[in-house]
Amino acid sequence: MNEDVRIRAWVVVGLLFVLHFLLHVGLSIGAGAPDLLTVALLIGAREVGLGPAALLGLVFGLLEDALSAVSFGANSIAMTVVALGGGVTRDLFVGDSRLFVVSYFFLGKVARDLLHWLSVGEGVRQPFVEQVAVQGTIGGAYAAVVGLALVTVTGLTREST
C-alpha cells in the first residue's frame, strides 16, 4: 500500500515538474500559473530522507537559477532549505489531516519566497511587503489549493503505522 503511494507520489512529482516549466517557460504564463515546482518539491521531500530531499531541492533550485537573470544560487538555497524542512516534517507529522496539508504547502511556499528574497541580496530584491508579504501570501494560498487538490485526487496519504 505504502509502495503504491510512493510510486504515485513520484509520478505526481514528475508531472508537476514538467507542467511547471511548460507553463512558466513554454507558455510564458508567469505569475498566473502556480509554483508547481515548489509543490512538487514539498511532495517529494516527504518521500525520502533528508539528504536526498536536500539534493532534490538543490537540483530544482539550480534549474530555476538557470532561467534566472539575477542572483544565481538564490533559488538553490531556498529550494534546498525548503526541501530540508519538508523532510523534517516527515518524521514529525503523518500528513493525513487536511489542516496539515494546507499548512504544509502554504508555509512551504511562503518560506521558499522568503528565503529567496533573503538570498537575492539588497540591490536586486523588491520591497518585503510586495514580494514576500503580498505575493508570497497569494502564492502560498495558490500552492495550498493546488497541493490539497492534488493530494485529495491522487490519494497521497499514508495510513498511520
Binding site: G26, S28, G49, G51, L63, F72, G73, S76, T80, L84
Partner: protein, 302 residues
C-alpha cells in the same frame, strides 16, 4: 546491550544528515561561484533539461509573431484592395469624361454637360434627374447622350434641372434608321421579366429590307431628336408580320445604369449630328474598353 535495531538506523540517519549538510553547503556555494562558472552551469541546464521548454517558448513566440505579421499584412491587403477598388472607378470615370470632352468638341456648342442622378425609389428605375434646365437651354424632348450614344430624352424641364427617361422606359420611342439610311423604323423598349432583360426593338421595317446583324442603328431626325445619334446595333430578328413587316432586337449602345456624366442637346442644335459619331468609331462602351485594353497591352500592334 545495544538497542535492537537502533545502531544501524542511527548510522544511516547520521549519514543522511551529513549528506544533507553537504548539499546545503553546496547550495550556498553556488552563490559564490565565478560568474562564468554560473553561466556555464546555466547554459548546460538550458541545453539539456530545459531545452524542450525553451524550444516550445521559441516556437510559440514565432507563431505569435507570424500571426501578428499576418494581421498586419491582411490589413495592408484590405487597404490596397480599397484603394484599387476606388482606383478602378476613377479610371472608368476618367475615361468617360475624356470621351465626353471629345464628343463635346465634335458636337459643337449646342450640347451642355450634365450629371445624372437616379432617384432609386421603386417605380422610378427608368427615370433620372439632370442638373441642367431651362436656364441652360434645355427643352422638353431634348436628347440625352453619352459618349457612345443615346441614353434617353428629357420629359420635364425646370429652371435649373430636368427629369428624363432612359430607353428602358415604356413610353420611350424614337424614330430610327440603319446607319446607311436605307431602312427606317421606330425604336422602343421591350421590357423583360427582370431589368437586365430589358431590350430595344426596331419595329416597322420593310419585310424585304436587308438588315444584317451588327448594323448600327441611329436616330433618323424624324421627330424631336436630331439625326445621327447611335441607338444600338442589330442583334437578331424578333418577329415578322406576314410578308410585309419585320422587327429586330437591338443591342443598345449605352446601358442606362452606366451613364453618370452625359450631354444634353439644347435648343438650336443642328438637325444632323452624324459628325459627332464618325461611322468607323461607333462602338459600345464595352467594345471601347476592350479596344483600349488591347492597345495598351500591344502598343506597337495594328
Amino acid at each position: 546491550m545495544p538497542p535492537y535495531g537502533s545502531e544501524p538506523e542511527g548510522r544511516g540517519k547520521r549519514r543522511d544528515i551529513v549528506f544533507a549538510g553537504v548539499v546545503l553547503v553546496l547550495a550556498f556555494y553556488t552563490t559564490y561561484l565565478a560568474p562564468s562558472t554560473q553561466q556555464g552551469i546555466a547554459n548546460i541546464l538550458q541545453a539539456t533539461v530545459l531545452r524542450p521548454f525553451i524550444a516550445t517558448q521559441v516556437r510559440l513566440g514565432d507563431a505569435r509573431l507570424r500571426a501578428g505579421q499576418i494581421e498586419d499584412l491582411t490589413a495592408q491587403i484590405d487597404s490596397l484592395s480599397a484603394v484599387l477598388a476606388t482606383h478602378g472607378a476613377l479610371v472608368d470615370e476618367n475615361r468617360t469624361l475624356r470621351e465626353l470632352v471629345g464628343l463635346l468638341e465634335r458636337a459643337g456648342p449646342h450640347f451642355v454637360p450634365a450629371s445624372v442622378l437616379r432617384p432609386g425609389t421603386p417605380g422610378s428605375e427608368s427615370m433620372f434627374f439632370v442638373d441642367v434646365g431651362r436656364s441652360d437651354g434645355v427643352a422638353q424632348g431634348a436628347a440625352v447622350v453619352a459618349p457612345h450614344g443615346l441614353v434617353g430624352v428629357i420629359r420635364e424641364v425646370r429652371e435649373n434641372s430636368a427629369v428624363g427617361m432612359d430607353w428602358t422606359h415604356p413610353d420611350f420611342r424614337v424614330s430610327a434608321m440603319l446607319i446607311d439610311g436605307t431602312t427606317y423604323g421606330i425604336v422602343d423598349a421591350a421590357r423583360g421579366v427582370f431589368r437586365e432583360d430589358d431590350r430595344l426593338v426596331l419595329r416597322g421595317t420593310a419585310y424585304n429590307a436587308d438588315v444584317r446583324p451588327g448594323t448600327v442603328v441611329v436616330t433618323s431626325g424624324l421627330g424631336v431628336v436630331p439625326r445621327g445619334i447611335p441607338v444600338g446595333k442589330i442583334d437578331r430578328i424578333l418577329s415578322s408580320e406576314g410578308s410585309w413587316r419585320k422587327s429586330f432586337y437591338i443591342e443598345p449602345m449605352v446601358e442606362p445604369g452606366s451613364a453618370i456624366h452625359v450631354l444634353v442637346v439644347t435648343e438650336g442644335a443642328e438637325g444632323d449630328l452624324a459628325g459627332a459619331w464618325p461611322a468607323d468609331s461607333i462602338a459600345t462602351r464595352e467594345e471601347t474598353i476592350l479596344r483600349s485594353d488591347a492597345s495598351a497591352r500591344n502598343p506597337g500592334g495594328a
